[in-house]
């Protein structure tokens, strides 16, 4: 409950007793949430925080003293003085019974089910179910159905919680799913052949399906759930900055999942963002610092490369820097770049960004949309002094940089449209890149840097919310976070001994230098992030 109303100073509360312990919760809280707030999970399927509660799975039944029957805790409001037993013999016996019913027609195909390991039917049956079912009757069979989009439906595994139907009706508000037939013949189905084709948020129904009835085609048979590492992160595909998890194995991102953050994305993320994880896994990488322009280029270690770079800076005219930064870079990276530009006497920092024609708003949560800005940190780039150039497809606008005869610095990979001649005229051309690119042909130094998934840091989304992401993958070869590389360089140039060595230090350095971030505490950003001090001004709408 602590997460629902962060700013409500005074809320009416009720105090009840659950399993012998007193608990005080805001008025209107359900018994299920009250129990959850004290660490007791009452099993449930149909209830989902982001959806209406139909109270039909009958799994969350608890004993409330004075009530003639067991009550569904998901819709029973906590009352003052109420005495609830979630683990009483009666409640446990009934829940054991309900779980047995779920298995009457369930195929028990866990060994070949994608959900296995993160399946609430498995979990609850192990928690509270009978050790064996008593049904000897033939099971009814629905088989498999392609729902369109990324969604595959295994009817026999379905627990008929209707979360998927309610998501499409209430949240995406594009009612593509329904329950057909009734009784034990009930099954989720699409209307005619239309299916989920063309929907923009239907990936969420795979997430909220408590069992293996709805699975992702993309993820099908790819990994076992228990082999995946889950890393808190931020979706890099637009400026909404959805709070997500990267699910990784073998140093590859296997899938993205939304992480609950009521301030940004609720429980959801869009299909556009969900589909774009493979970019993170690109294997063509710059893996070592490369010194010298094309033809005379040599790979070397970091200390040597930095020494060579500092040598090259000798005699370079100050105050003539033109830098191009990617809005996919973190606040710390862009902030570090700004200090480097300052250390070199100042100059200009520009960024380019690809913009979609329009937003894809989630009807049931209008504050959530796939935004027009298709990068996670445009707002951060602007707050840190970069200005936008180029077209809405992310090209153009670099004429002044490509031919610049001073210092050219590139951070990140946004130069696909640039020719080999980019930066050829530069007195010093420094390229901090992730992937090899023709635009780096005339770079004096190509320094390998990490993707957001290989480092920790923060992005600033369009409302100005600064959110943390953690390191999920090992960087290839010698690739290092840009803020670390640039920080080392700045320390060399300025002779200051203030090299940040952790993400926290990099952020602290930023917060101490840039007003917008002043007062923000890296550790306190927590799971929801915090809004910067600038007045909120949606970047570009």
């Amino acid at each position: 409950m602590s997460e629902t109303t962060p700013n409500d100073a005074v809320t009416e509360t009720v105090t009840l007793t659950i399993d012998g312990r007193e608990v005080t919760v805001p008025k209107g809280t359900t018994v299920l949430k009250a129990a959850e707030s004290m660490g007791t999970e009452v099993p449930h399927y149909c209830f989902h925080e982001g959806l209406s509660p139909p109270a039909m799975c009958r799994l969350c039944l608890v004993e409330v003293e004075g009530a003639p029957k067991l009550l569904p805790s998901c819709v029973t409001q906590a009352q003052d003085g109420q005495v609830v037993h979630t683990q009483g013999e009666k409640a446990l016996q009934m829940r054991r019974g309900v779980l047995e019913f779920y298995l009457v027609n369930h195929p028990l195909d866990c060994p070949i089910c994608d959900q296995s390991g993160e399946c609430y039917l498995q979990d609850y049956v192990h928690m509270e179910g009978r050790d064996h079912g008593r049904s000897r009757e033939p099971k009814r069979v629905f088989g498999r159905d392609d729902f369109g989009g990324d969604v595959l439906f295994y009817g026999d595994r379905c627990v008929m919680c209707t979360r998927c139907v309610r998501f499409m009706n209430e949240v995406e508000q594009d009612p593509r799913l329904t329950v057909v037939e009734r009784g034990s013949r009930s099954v989720i189905d699409t209307f005619f052949e239309e299916g989920l084709e063309g929907t923009k948020w239907s990936g969420n129904i795979v997430d909220i399906c408590p069992v293996g009835a709805l699975v992702s085609k993309d993820f099908l048979y790819k990994q076992r759930a228990w082999d995946l590492d889950h890393t808190p992160s931020i979706c890099p595909s637009c400026s909404q900055g959805c709070t997500i998890e990267l699910h990784t194995r073998d140093n590859l991102v296997q899938r993205l999942r939304p992480r609950k953050n009521l301030a940004v994305n609720g429980h959801w993320m869009c299909d556009y963002g969900r589909e774009r994880y493979e970019v993170i896994n690109r294997s063509d990488r710059v893996t070592a610092p490369l010194v010298g322009r094309a033809g005379e280029r040599t790979a070397m270690g970091w200390p040597e490369a930095l020494t060579r770079l500092v040598e090259r800076l000798d005699g370079v005219e100050r105050g003539r820097v033109k830098a191009v930064v990617s809005p996919h870079a973190s606040n710390e990276d862009i902030g570090a770049l700004a200090t480097l530009v300052d250390a070199l006497g100042g100059g200009e920092i520009v960024y380019r960004i690809e913009r979609a024609e329009e937003e894809d708003v989630l009807q049931g949560m209008p504050s959530l949309a796939r935004r027009r800005d298709l990068a996670p940190n445009r707002r951060g780039a602007e707050l840190l002094g970069a200005s936008r150039v180029g077209n809405d497809d992310g090209t153009g606008g670099l004429e002044g940089v490509a031919d610049h005869d001073g210092v050219v610095i590139v951070l990140g990979d946004e130069l696909a449209d640039q020719e080999e001649g980019f930066g050829e005229a530069a007195r010093l051309h420094l390229h901090l890149g992730i992937h090899p690119t023709p635009a780096a042909t005339h770079a004096d130094l190509v320094l390998p840097v990490t993707t957001f998934a290989e480092q920790e840091g923060t992005f600033t989304n369009l409302e100005g919310r600064v959110q943390r992401f953690r390191q999920a993958l090992h960087p290839p070869g010698a690739a290092r976070p840009p803020w670390l590389v640039i920080g080392a360089l700045v320390a060399e140039i300025t002779g200051r001994d203030t090299l940040p060595t952790t993400g926290a230090e990099a952020f602290r350095a930023l917060a101490s230098r840039v007003d917008a971030f002043a007062g923000l505490d890296y550790d306190a950003l927590g799971t929801r992030g915090a809004v910067v001090n600038e007045p909120v001004r949606p970047a570009g709408g």
Binding site: M56, C57, K69, G97, F101, V104, V179, G183, S184
Partner: protein, 430 residues
């Protein structure tokens, strides 16, 4: 003999004109005194109407037996919202056929009752939700409503009283569960016919989200008589807790099945032996289901001691329900009968609640297996335990409706199950 069968034991208040088609027309109905009470009711204070019905002790005839006047008094007063009265004419309980007859023979009695009730609960609109298969009855009712509208008995300024009440006949699509009161509301609103979670109760949030009272056809048909003659008059029949008359729908192995209106508290044995002429072919009585297929089955011993009022039937191990008396003689295969009932409920389960969705089908499959001679004695324990898990765990009572016949038959007719299990053959089939 009139209307298929009648009996001298009957007290024909509601069923007075059964078998007499002249009451179907407005002219005929008015000649028989219909709508006289309406005028009287509109002159009374609304709360006084509720008080009379409360004092009469009239209990809901749909099966639950909840006091009607008390139910009406739950409706909010002066809340500024539209109120609705729903008349539940989705008569679907196997064995029940009283509401159909009340509509067929005396539609204006029902309309008058609806209007008085609507007046009492401050409803501006009455919906009569008719079972989808009631082709003839709904056609008769539709004509009666039309006539009443034309005569100014429904609509604006009824009988010059200034009262405005509209009435719509809505035909269902034939799902049993739409006879459950909140399932009916969903169906009426055009949603899936699935019962709603209570609370909120209909008197607070009912049809179209507004305060709603829902009454059975027979309940509403009794209202004009009670308002006309008073509570004491109505209490001359029946018992203290179950006053008045009740239509009994008798079916099964009796010589004269049919609808009989009797005072509540009437002896069940007399109903079978005298009113219905006894068991067919001189056979012996084996079992009776006294209140529609969802109540516990009674054996002959319980039948002999049973008086037909709400408390009397409970005392004899069952429930009065909607008083649909299904009589079974010695030739009846109880296991087959119970399996057939379970199949019905499995087919009609709306599928929302897990215990009902899965349980009804599972139970049916077990019963079928026993009937086929492939059962085991453990199956009986499983049946009892599984039906226990289906009792009191769901939104509505459909799942309890399977539990009652299964558990009662296993208790009272265990031998029949065991015989099938042991010999792998049927008993009782002649």
């Amino acid at each position: 003999m009139a209307y298929p069968y009648t009996s001298e034991h009957e007290v024909r208040v509601l069923s007075e004109h059964f078998g007499d088609p002249t009451a179907r027309t407005l002219e005929g109905a008015r000649a028989k005194g219909r709508y006289e009470t309406l005028r009287k009711a509109f002159e009374m204070d609304r709360d006084d109407v509720i008080e009379v019905v409360k004092a009469s002790g009239l209990r809901g005839r749909g099966g639950a037996g909840f006091p009607t006047g008390v139910k009406w008094s739950f409706m909010p007063k002066d809340d500024g919202k539209p109120h609705y009265l729903l008349c539940n004419a989705d008569e679907s309980e196997p064995g029940t056929f009283k509401d159909r007859e009340l509509i067929r023979w005396d539609p204006h009695q029902l309309i008058e009752g609806c209007l008085i009730a609507a007046y009492a609960i401050r409803a501006q609109h009455v919906y009569i939700y008719c079972r989808g298969e009631f082709f003839e009855a709904s056609a008769i009712l539709g004509r009666a409503v039309e006539e009443a509208y034309e005569a100014g008995l429904i609509g604006r300024d009824i009988l010059g009283s200034g009262v405005e009440i509209d009435l719509t006949v809505h035909i269902g699509a034939g799902a049993y569960i739409c006879g459950e009161e909140t399932g009916l509301m969903n169906s009426l609103e055009g949603r899936r016919g699935q019962p709603r979670v209570k609370p909120p109760f209909p008197a607070a949030v009912g049809a179209f989200g507004k305060p709603t009272t829902i009454n059975n056809v027979e309940t509403l048909a009794a209202v004009p008589h009670i308002v006309e003659h008073g509570a004491e008059w109505y209490r001359q029949w029946g018992t203290e807790k179950s006053p008045g008359t009740k239509l009994f729908c008798v079916s099964g192995h009796v010589k004269r099945p049919g609808n009989y209106e009797l005072p509540l508290g009437f002896p069940l044995q007399t109903l079978i032996d005298e009113v219905c002429g006894g068991i067919r072919d001189g056979n012996a009585l084996k079992a009776v289901i006294p209140g529609g297929s969802s109540v516990p089955i009674m054996n002959a011993e319980e039948v002999a001691a049973c008086s037909l009022d709400y408390e009397g039937v409970v005392a004899c191990g069952s429930m009065l329900g909607c008083a649909s008396v299904i009589v079974m003689d010695e030739t009846t295969d109880i296991v087959k009968q119970v399996r057939r009932v379970a199949y019905f409920y499995a087919h009609e389960s709306c599928g929302q609640c897990t215990p009902c969705r899965e349980g009804t089908t599972w139970v049916t499959k077990i019963l079928q297996r026993i009937e086929d001679g492939r059962g085991t004695e453990e199956d009986l324990d499983t049946l009892v335990e599984v039906t226990d898990q289906m009792t009191g765990t769901t939104i509505c009572v459909l799942s309890d409706s399977v539990a009652a016949p299964v558990q009662s038959s296993i208790t009272k007719f265990r031998d029949e199950y065991l015989a099938l299990i042991r010999r792998g053959e049927r008993v009782g089939a002649a």
